[in-house]
């Protein structure tokens, strides 16, 4: 019958719609350079090895050469290539780290030369909010505990929607993607205070965002900046 090939063609055409396609994810973030171990103070005649990390346009660490400089070499001297700083006299100096890239991104940290060296490891806080239609709100604090590990604690005002399947919490440097993010775990508490113990090798400056992500939908639900 004439219509038979037409119908079969139609069925096969529909089958083509069942092919796996591609979704393009808008995952651009501005590159940045970050000093990973800033100081509160540097003891006179003591040294400190600064470390810096370059994060590319998807928030991933990338190996690039970094140069170091001091605003006042008589207060804090720093090796241009290694980042080893030495306190020469009491006072204040601004240490700059610059990535040897086309955009020459740089960042600074202020060093106060006093009687003792104190590594900055202060608690950092922030607030999460929803970027979707699902409820997500609350304050958090990221802080070290006596063992040296970090704890991410949410306040009593935390609320998350229970309607989402597979809601996960991450630490990341790219709020648009979980690529390269550290997965803390599946969300099991949806209201009230609670906390997550982070692995011992997690640094307080390693991540910039707390991210809530729905895995089955592969979409961001919300999150918040970790304030410095």
């Amino acid at each position: 019958m004439k219509f038979k090939p037409i119908v079969l063609s139609l069925l096969f055409s529909l089958l083509l719609f069942a092919c796996i396609g591609e979704d393009i994810i808008a995952d651009f973030v501005s590159p940045e350079i970050r000093i990973e171990n800033p100081l509160q103070s540097l003891g006179l005649n003591e040294s400190h090895q600064f470390e810096a990390r370059y994060l590319n346009n998807i928030g991933q660490p990338e190996n690039v050469a970094i140069t170091w400089s001091s605003s006042d070499g008589s207060v804090v001297a720093i090796d241009e290539n290694t980042g080893l700083a030495t306190a020469l006299q009491e006072g204040q100096a601004i240490i700059r780290a610059t990535a040897v890239t086309t955009d020459s991104l740089s960042t600074t940290t202020t060093v106060e030369v006093t009687t003792e060296t104190i590594v900055e490891n202060m608690a950092r806080n922030g607030s999460i909010s929803s970027t979707s239609s699902y409820t997500l709100v609350g304050d958090f604090i990221l802080e070290p505990i006596s063992t040296g590990s970090l704890v991410l604690s949410f306040s009593e005002n935390y609320v998350a929607s229970t309607s989402l399947p597979g809601l996960y919490v991450y630490l990341t440097n790219n709020p648009n993607s979980i690529n390269g993010a550290f997965e803390i775990g599946k969300v099991a508490i949806f209201k009230g205070a609670h906390s997550y113990m982070l692995p011992g090798n997690t640094g307080i400056t390693d991540f910039r965002y707390v991210l809530y992500w729905c895995k089955p939908f592969s979409v961001k639900v919300g999150g918040g900046n970790i304030n410095e």
Partner: protein
Amino acid sequence: MQKSALTLLILISLTLTTLNAQWVKTKGKGYYKLSAWSLVSDQHYTDTGNIDPNVTRGYFNLNFYGEYGITDKWDIIAYIPFYSRTYQNKQISGTTGAVLQEGESLNGIGDTDISFRYGLLKTSKLALSASLKLGLPIGNNSGGSDGSFQTGDGEFNQLLQVDLGIPFKFNMVPGFAKTYLGFNNRTMDFSDELHFGAEAGLNFYKNKIWLIGRILVVESLQNGSLSNQTNQGSIFANNVEYVSVGAELAYYLTRKLGISFAYGGALSGRIIYANPTYSGGIFLDIK
């Protein structure tokens, strides 16, 4: 996504209901259709009724739908999605072009419906029938890398429904209108549901063309304990609600044989995909 499969089946049923379904077949008569059905979804209705994006997921099936008159009062009806496919798009970084997540798919047989329909009343002015639809969970309800790929919902539905229909003429064009009310008893801690809706069709061009419009409302009774937290791996869990509309165009190529195309989509909803469904197929109407 335990629930999504059922929701899909309901949406499928919206595009598969046969003509004048409240009129039972007489003994030996039947209606049989072979169809392809497709939904490609990149957004969904949230728990608050708003629309949010999601990674593109597709659902496709090839199915057989058949009605057969066992007696003048009893029909047996089967819906068999003998090939069901669930897939998810590959995710590509818009910045680097790198693959962030590979695409994935699951193929298999889908959940199958077996229904029994009884003609309660049939006159020249109206027809009243009752039916019991049994949703057999023979599909896969936990496939794929994260368990969220499904060709079935894993639960046994029992939908008891009453259909009331009337024939009419509109500007000398014959047609029908019907309304229906159903109660869906669900297992596995899913909430039960109320289904109600309406349908109207007009018969054009020497009885060769049927144009049909449908609306279906599903209300959850909110009496199931299943939640997203207890429903591992599912995308949509319990208490799905929606208002959906559908349209179908059927054309009789011969007195018995024809082709049909159907559209369905949710006008509003909660925890359900927000993209339209399409189907097309060939049918045999033994009158």
